[in-house]
Symmetry: C2
Subunit: 83 residues, 2 copies
């Protein structure tokens, strides 16, 4: 069965987010003064084969631990849907 897993990777609280900070600065320079904060988030949409949803989720969990995320600075969550 084919699944689509969405992995959303955020920075932990207290970890610097230079991309977010610089995007905020650029928006202010363009006159968007109503913006208070910008946070950058990275998302991977992963299409994979799995025996069932639980199996697909376990595989993606391992991918996060081995490649996609850095546990020192990242939080992540995984959303799996059959397609």
């Amino acid at each position: 069965m084919l699944f689509k897993a969405r992995v959303e990777i955020r920075l932990k609280k207290g970890i610097a987010d230079p991309e977010g900070v610089n995007t905020l600065k650029a928006l202010h320079l363009l006159g968007f003064d109503s913006v208070k904060e910008v946070k950058s988030v990275k998302v991977f949409d992963i299409f994979l084969e799995g025996k069932n949803e639980e199996n697909a989720r376990r595989q993606v969990e391992k991918m996060c631990q081995r490649l996609l995320t850095n546990p020192v600075i990242h939080l992540y969550n995984i959303e799996v849907n059959k397609i």
Copy 2:
């Protein structure tokens, strides 16, 4: 009123996604052979003041057009919630 706008930026169909392709290759090298495709997506969570939801959405739409996205290669959608 304070709003949180989530801007999700994807590549248009047919536009090369080297980050996705290389992530797929790396996952295969690590033995995750069940993965068929990886698409990279960029997300900005923008916290802003607005008169109402419609006003906040219009502001974020303008930010997308002026800074956050490139209409040649990107598709985007905006989700606005009061916080």
